[in-house]
Every structure is written in structure tokens, then in C-alpha cells.
């Protein structure tokens, strides 16, 4: 990716990752393998160049499988594994041959998504990267020197559970250290959740598992992949934008974004149209909804939603339109997601969208001119929580706060498959080495790559310790020093949207304290869920589980954040354990923030860690002073700090 390394503080100028404990952490990641379950890989991408990579670790048991369009020789010291799993997909397709002629059993990426996510996590540095001139710079993954193993589990009709489980099975045996899954389904009990079950096996073996939270925001309770042993990643914006402008016939100019690259539409006003006379769905620009007779030669306003944004552009183009204004509605608010449409197009937020729609419907002869401003940096405020990023509360276990963190997931440039154009449309015959995409799919591999960096810095840390480090050091103020904002609605965000906050890898490298959760504690958590003992065994895959240890409440798990559900109780009490990963003799003091509806008491208020590795416990008592609105989330925080470290946990309250 371009820009996100700088945005995350991974650029060379800070020197952080090059100087920790006299170890070049960036280089040390060559011992770390990131397994990516996705649509495969385009192995010829420069992002998988293995220049300067040392030999593959002897422990590695993965391989690159031969396919009709994939030779094992395409793998190298960077891309060290490439397998495909298609039996579930094949069966769901009626046992017939794969749907598209080019969709053969092979790890090759025909979609682009897998190449994008794999290169985001661990792509090599590639100079002069851009998408048609946009977002130009040196593209690199978060863990530039980590190895990549791809497991193709997603095909033209989806990602099938049987294939995902087979890939997880194989990846664990192959010896990956980090697993990255930018996919998900609806919520289900953990014993019915393929990813949760497979991920549990992974973390038991010290493998960090990062999953995307989903793109069903801003609806509440829309999260995927919420098991506490998984890092659930939401999405935020970068400080980068691609401005574009709409000048209306009434001389009013509105800002938007665009990745359009082409001759443009000149500087003469052209007709503007919103809604055909005889089609109720023309405002959405669904296929077949636009009358060429009315649209030809005009700029068309399309409401965002229902069908893909790039498809709307293609519908307008096919109907003879020469430009498109893609206008947000209430669901997407002011969030601007840029696409490389095949015709001049500008995406605008809801507020400007409403004004443009109003003008088009009221002016007898509406006109517009679209123009494009390239790439700008240092946008403020940033990050902003993406409107599409899925939100809590966690429906499966409301006592565990999710998502865990947010990372960069809007307008991310990364490597792309040359089997398909940047819009992903079949009629888009352009070939690009990079593409700009948005989604929690894009934020997830950022965190996977950061986990690989932390793993190389702290080889003895458990997956939960790495997760804790990333969570407790995350920040909740944007680059204007204001609380993080939410693109949906434009107001302040909250932990149901951003979890612990936006990751800060520099701080995560040295968190001071971690909430280190053991497998036994996860088992005690599962036993507290009223699952049968057989179901618990099926998740943990241990024959001797008795559930003799269980929590009275699943929220008692030693988790780096809190979700307090009062229900009929007025008092909820949890004990947490912190492990010192900082200096010997560290002393921490607690600071609490709570809403007016809750009293929070922490004992003790001071923790002394005599030695490195020491563990100390504290108890926190949450007392509901009054019943609050059940539909509204209430939030606070508990922070342990000293001069060097701040170890912060968000708290969500519900009734």
C-alpha cells in the first residue's frame, strides 16, 4: 500500500522498526509466515518479488500447488505457499465444471481481492506504484519482509465453509504464524461458526488470527467474526483524498471524490438528470433502469446503495450518459469511497447529494460540469470510522466488546490481479498492477501485517498478548486532537464502531502491560456460555475438558476491553490480570472514565510490577446508578498509566 505505512508510523524516518533492541524488526519478519485465505494470488505481481529474502525457514511445510494456469515455479522466497480449496464450491455449483472458463482449480487470483489483501499484509516494496496516477508512491505491505502463503477459498459464487475449514486445517499444518481472513458470514454460536472453530485451533498453536468485522455498518449489531480469540478489525479512513468537483448550472460547486482517469468531459455544461420519468428505480441506476433517450449525452445522478457503485457507472455509460454523480444517502452519510469508473464520475456525500438532487429536480434546465483534482494528502480529520464498517454490540456474546480495533480500510492502494480490470467489471478491459479498494477486507490485512511485526519483535508473546498490545495502545483521537468521528452521521464515534480505537503500531511494540489470555481461560469462557460439554470439546478439541472452571459471566474473560451488560443486575464485577512486559519495577496508576449512569470502582488503584513477567490482578466494580436508555450505548474507559505507558481499555455499558 502507499501512504498507510506513513499513516501508521512505519516509515523509515521514525526508525522505530529498525532500531528496537538492536534488531532490525522489519528484516526479522522473514521468519514469520502470513497465511491469507482469500481469492488466491497473482504471483507475477512485483509485490511478491523476493529480492533480498533469505532462504525459506526449514520448518515450513507448505507448498505451491500446480494448476492449469499456475506453475509452482512462480513461487519464490516471498510467496512460499499457494493452495486452492474448491470442493465445497464445486459441489455447490451442482457438481458441474467451474462456472467461468477461466475459473480452474488453481491458486491464481481471477478476482484481485486476494492479491490486494496479501500484498497489504506483507507485500515487498514497489516504487512508482499508482492506480492510473492516483495514490502514487512506493507501495509496500505492513510486514515487508514477512513470507506469504495464500489459500484460495473464495470463488465466483462465494467462499464455502467446507473449503475455508480445509484451508485452515492445512495452513495450521503448513506452519503459518498469522492468519488473515477478509471474509465472513452472519453471526452464529461459536460451535457452528467454521471460522471461530478453526481459529481456536490456530491460536492454541500460537497463530494470531485476524478477521474483518464486516461491511454492514452503520447498522447496529452487524458484526462478523466476533469470537474473543479472533482480532476483529473495523475500518477507518486515511489522511488521503482524491478530490473531484461538481459545478452546477446555478454556479454552485460541490466537492466529492473520484478515481476517474481519462479525457474528462471538457468545460462545457451538459444536461443533468435525476430519475427517469417512467422508471421508479432509475435513481439507483440499476441495470436496465435508465432510458437511453433521456440519459444520452447527460450527467446522471445515481443514489448510492443496492447495486455496486462501479456497476452504476457502467449502467450510465451503457445508456449513453457521459458522466455520473454518485450521491450518498442516509445509510452512507458523508463517507466518500472512490472508484475508478469507466466514465467521468464524482462521488458526493449525503448533504451535497441532497442539494444536487434538489437542484436537478427543481431547475427546468439543470446542467453540470465534472472535474478532477488528483491526490491530496494530510486530510483532516483522519482517521474517521468508515460508515460501512460493521458495528457492535456483539450478538453472540454481548459481554465481549467488538470490533477490537480499526485500521486503514478506505481507498487503499495495493497490488491487483491482471486477470481483471480495476472496477472488477467484465467489460473493464484495463489492466493495472495496483488498485484502490475499500472495506474491512482492506483493514484486516493491515493488522495481520502489524501482528507479524510484533511477532518478530516479541517471538515469545502469545496471540492474545499481541492482540492486547494492539488494542490497549490504540488511539481514540484524530489528527485534529478531537475524538474519533464516524462518517455515518458525522458525529463522534464510539467503541461499538471503533472498538479500542485506531491501531498505533509504534506504541503496540512497547505496551508496558498486556492482558495475556490463556487457552484455559478461553475454555472457561466457553464453559460459561451454557454450551454442552460436548460442544465445548468440539471447539477446543481436547478430550479432557470438564468445565470444572467456568466464569459466572462470559465477561469475566481476561479481555483487553469491557462490555458490561447489566440486565437485571445493578452491579457487575470483573477481575482482570495484567502481565508486565515493560521494565522491572514499573508502577501504574488507574484512571477511570464513566458515564453519569454508572459508578466505576477499581481496586487496587495502583499496581507495582517488581519484575518483568510479573502478573497483577485488579477488580473493577460497575454499579448502575439508574436504568439508562436500552437502545443507546453508554461508554467509558479504564486506563493504567505511568510516565512511559498508557494501557487503555474501553468499556461499553448496556442494560
Amino acid at each position: 500500500t502507499t501512504r498507510t505505512p506513513e499513516f501508521l508510523g512505519l516509515d523509515r524516518d521514525t526508525g522505530l522498526w529498525e532500531g528496537h533492541n538492536n534488531v532490525d524488526l522489519s528484516l526479522a519478519t522473514h521468519d514469520v509466515v502470513i497465511g491469507v485465505l482469500d481469492t488466491g494470488v497473482w504471483p507475477e505481481s512485483k509485490s511478491f518479488n523476493d529480492y533480498g529474502m533469505p532462504e525459506i525457514p526449514a520448518r515450513w511445510r507448505g507448498e505451491c500447488e500446480k494448476g492449469t494456469d499456475f506453475s509452482p515455479s512462480l513461487c519464490n522466497k516471498k510467496l512460499i505457499g499457494a493452495r486452492s480449496f474448491s470442493k465445497g464450491f464445486h459441489m455447490a455449483s451442482g457438481g458441474s465444471f467451474l462456472r467461468k472458463p477461466e475459473e480452474v482449480v488453481s491458486p491464481r487470483d481471477q478476482d484481485g481481492h486476494g492479491t490486494h489483501t496479501a500484498s497489504t499484509a506483507a507485500g515487498s516494496s514497489v516504487a512508482n506504484a499508482s492506480l492510473l496516477g492516483y495514490a502514487s508512491g512506493t507501495a509496500r505491505g505492513m510486514a515487508t519482509h514477512a513470507r506469504v502463503a495464500v489459500y484460495k477459498v473464495c470463488w465466483s459464487t462465494g467462499c464455502f465453509g467446507a473449503d475455508i475449514l480445509a484451508a485452515l486445517d492445512r495452513a495450521i499444518l503448513d506452519g503459518v504464524n498469522v492468519l488473515s481472513l477478509s471474509l465472513g458470514g452472519g453471526s452464529a454460536p461459536y460451535y457452528r461458526d467454521t471460522i471461530a472453530i478453526g481459529a481456536f485451533s490456530a491460536i492454541q498453536r500460537g497463530i494470531f488470527v485476524s478477521c474483518s468485522a464486516g461491511n454492514s455498518g452503520p447498522s447496529k449489531a452487524s458484526l462478523a467474526n466476533v469470537a474473543p480469540w479472533i482480532m476483529t478489525v473495523g475500518a477507518g479512513t486515511l489522511d488521503r483524498d482524491f478530490p473531484a468537483y461538481t459545478l452546477l448550472g446555478n454556479k454552485k460547486r460541490f466537492n466529492g471524490v473520484s478515481l476517474y482517469s481519462g479525457p474528462g468531459m471538457g468545460d462545457k455544461p451538459v444536461g443533468l438528470i435525476y430519475k427517469n420519468r417512467n422508471s421508479s428505480s432509475s435513481n439507483m441506476c440499476l441495470p436496465g433502469s435508465l432510458e437511453p433517450g433521456e440519459v444520452r449525452g447527460k450527467v446522471v445522478i445515481c443514489d448510492r446503495g443496492i447495486n455496486a457503485r462501479v456497476e452504476k457507472g457502467a449502467v450510465v455509460r451503457d445508456a449513453g450518459g457521459i458522466g455520473m454523480i454518485l450521491a450518498n444517502t442516509a445509510a452512507s452519510g458523508e463517507e466518500l469511497v472512490a472508484d475508478s469508473h469507466l466514465l467521468p464520475a464524482v462521488a458526493v456525500g449525503r448533504r451535497f447529494g441532497d442539494l444536487i438532487r434538489q437542484y436537478a429536480l427543481s431547475d427546468p434546465n439543470p446542467t453540470a460540469i465534472l472535474s478532477f483534482g488528483g491526490t491530496v494528502l494530510n486530510v483532516r480529520p483522519s482517521p474517521v470510522v468508515a460508515a460501512f464498517s460493521s458495528r457492535g454490540p456483539n450478538l453472540v456474546t454481548p459481554q465481549i466488546l467488538k470490533p477490537d480495533v480499526i485500521g486503514p480500510g478506505v481507498n487503499i492502494l495495493a497490488a491487483w490481479s491482471e486477470a481483471i480490470g480495476p472496477t472488477g467489471l467484465e467489460k473493464d478491459t484495463r489492466k493495472t498492477q495496483f488498485n484502490i479498494m475499500s472495506g474491512t477486507s482492506m483493514s484486516c490485512p493491515h493488522i495481520s501485517g502489524l501482528a507479524a511485526l510484533l511477532k518478530s519483535a516479541h517471538p515469545d508473546w502469545s496471540p492474545s498478548a499481541i492482540k492486547s498490545a494492539l488494542m490497549t495502545t490504540a488511539y481514540t483521537q484524530d489528527n485534529t486532537k478531537s475524538p474519533l468521528r464516524d462518517a455515518a452521521g458525522g458525529g463522534f464515534s464510539n467503541p461499538w464502531a471503533h472498538g479500542s480505537g485506531h491501531v498505533d503500531p509504534q506504541k503496540a511494540l512497547s505496551p508496558g502491560l498486556v492482558y495475556d489470555t490463556s487457552t484455559e481461560e478461553y475454555i472457561a469462557f466457553l464453559c460459561s456460555l451454557d454450551y454442552s460439554i460436548e460442544r465445548v470439546k468440539s471447539i477446543v478439541k481436547r478430550p479432557n475438558v470438564t468445565c470444572s472452571r467456568r466464569y459466572s459471566d462470559p465477561g469475566a474473560l481476561n479481555y483487553p476491553s469491557f462490555s458490561v451488560v447489566f440486565g437485571r443486575k445493578r452491579v457487575v464485577r470483573y477481575t482482570r490480570e495484567l502481565t508486565n512486559v515493560g521494565a522491572a519495577g514499573s508502577v501504574y496508576q488507574v484512571a477511570v472514565s464513566a458515564p453519569s449512569t454508572v459508578k466505576v470502582l477499581v481496586k487496587p488503584t495502583r499496581l507495582l510490577f517488581k519484575n518483568v513477567g510479573d502478573k497483577q490482578r485488579y477488580t473493577v466494580t460497575f454499579s448502575a446508578i439508574q436504568n439508562a436508555n436500552r437502545l443507546t450505548g453508554w461508554f467509558g474507559s479504564i486506563e493504567w498509566s505511568n510516565a512511559q505507558h498508557q494501557v487503555k481499555s474501553p468499556v461499553a455499558f448496556s442494560w
Binding site: 467462499c159 467446507a162 486445517d169 471474509l183 458470514g185 460442544r535
Partner: protein, 84 residues
């Protein structure tokens, strides 16, 4: 009449495998064969590490029969996931 088959994930009681079967895969195959001779080759995957069980292409009646087995913990339809 053709009954549509679909993929089911079959969760087995891992430690119930009789010693007479050399591998869990052999045991899973035998479980399916006991339903019908035509189902013995319907296993798509035998999982070893991430999961205790297998994925198989079954019709709803076969899935129901498997559910009745003492060695089977659960049988559920495969879920389809989407890219984010």
C-alpha cells in the same frame, strides 16, 4: 426423482473412533457407508487439525440419519461466506 445434495459439515466425537479403524478418515467413510453404499465416496474433506470431523455431500435424509448416530455430535449445512 433427484434429491438435491448439499454440503454438510459433520462434527464427530473424535475420541469415539474404534481402534479397528486405522485413521479417522476410515471411520468417517464407514459411517457414511452405513447409510448407503453410494455415500461412501461423498466425503469432500476429512479435517485433522482445525476441526474434528468431515465435510460431505449429502441429501437431507442422509444428514438426518447421521445426526442419529451416537458418534456424531452435530451435522449442519455448510455456510457460505462473502468477501468484505
Amino acid at each position: 426423482t433427484v434429491i438435491a445434495k448439499q454440503t454438510y459439515i459433520v462434527h464427530m466425537k473424535h475420541n469415539d473412533k474404534p481402534l479397528s479403524y486405522a485413521t479417522h478418515h476410515d471411520w468417517y467413510s464407514a459411517q457414511l457407508q452405513s447409510l448407503s453404499s453410494s455415500t461412501s465416496d461423498s466425503i469432500l474433506y476429512s479435517y485433522t487439525t482445525a476441526f474434528h470431523g468431515f465435510a460431505a455431500s449429502l441429501d437431507p435424509e442422509e444428514a438426518e440419519s447421521l445426526r442419529q448416530s451416537d458418534s456424531v455430535l452435530d451435522v449442519y449445512e455448510e455456510r457460505v461466506y462473502t468477501l468484505h
